[in-house]
Amino acid sequence: MRANPISRGRLFPAHKLWLVALLALAAVLSVTIVAVAQDSTPRPVTDDQVNAVARGLYCPVCENIPLDVCPTTACAQWRELIRVKLAQGWTGVQIKQYFVDQYGDRVLATPPARGLNWLVYVVPPAAILAGVYILYRAFQTWRKPVLAIPPVASTQGEPTTIDNQYIVRIEEELKKR
């Protein structure tokens, strides 16, 4: 004689457990799908978000004016494109890479460190170091005459200077005559 499963503490029979599990899985999947669908819908993008990306870009038409403050139509179109890309979920890095692919490295505020661009990063620090070295050598040269004189004690026990030593020597020479 077989025992009734319910009487052994089970809430559902085995075949009903499978059904419950499948229903639970379907519920979880549907919630996930809804969440993903909501995420792919365009999100509102603020001007600050657009400008945060635009600040690191320069339109080649308007030299030396960052994209976030550039007043031309071309720049306005670029900013609108940034807004569209942000709404689609693109990151700032991805958007900048898109602009580089379309218009070249010159659109970036900071040039990538490759090719001749290395000079931008190497030359100024090297020039500063060279300047410091030249100044150091110059200061060394200017101080040498002072350093070359060995300290001479004054006859009166006072602190000596070059002038004092010079005067003392002149007086001694005059006394000899």
Binding site: P60, Q77, W78, D101, E173
Partner: protein
């Protein structure tokens, strides 16, 4: 005698330190680096000061992928007259010549030995496509990817039009918009007839 004494004293007091031997290789390296930098700066400056490509020079070759995915390369178009027009959707003067350029293309298209290429300079694709649609432009047009074409031709702005003869030499340069269809034909006809 007194002068000599004073001079001797001066010599005795102000003693110059013996000159130190400076590392010669360091100086050589510094000079080489400086000269290299100057050469690079000179070459870059010369390049930026060159101005647009001159008539009679070999036309720079560039690839163009059109908005509808067709590929063109100037190297493959030798033997044909090529009209390269740089434009942008944000460029008002470009609008003045857009319809006339399309009319010119319709005029020369049946011959088969004249090719029009539109190069879209620093533009966004949706606006560029809207511009092409607005002016019913049917000749091949594509973006100037990474600015290669505009840099090769060293353009100063848009619109600019370059007419290349059958030998790949630059035959005519139009800075600014064409004024009319007859204006366009007046510069293309002599190149086609050569």
């Amino acid at each position: 005698m007194e002068n000599q004494t004073t001079s001797n004293l001066s010599d005795a007091v102000v003693q110059e330190a013996p000159p130190r031997s400076r590392p010669r290789w360091g100086r050589v390296l510094a000079w080489v680096a400086l000269m290299t930098l100057l050469v690079i700066v000179f070459l870059q400056l010369r390049r930026t000061q060159e101005g647009p490509v001159q008539v009679g020079q070999a036309a720079p070759i560039f690839p163009l992928t059109t908005f509808d995915g067709q590929n063109y390369n100037l190297a493959d178009l030798k033997g044909k007259v090529v009209v390269v027009n740089f434009w942008a959707s944000w460029c008002k003067p470009c609008e003045q010549e857009a319809a006339d350029l399309e009319s010119a293309w319709q005029f020369y298209k049946p011959r088969g030995d004249v090719v029009f290429l539109g190069v879209d300079y620093v533009d966004t694709e949706p606006e560029a496509k809207a511009y092409l649609q607005k002016f019913n432009i049917t000749y091949p047009n594509g973006p100037d990817l990474r600015g290669r074409a505009s840099q090769a031709y060293r353009i100063g702005g848009v619109p600019e039009t370059y007419i290349i003869d059958r030998n790949g030499k630059l035959a005519y340069v139009q800075i600014g918009p064409f004024s009319s269809l007859s204006n366009i034909r007046a510069v293309i006809d002599p190149v086609v007839g050569k």
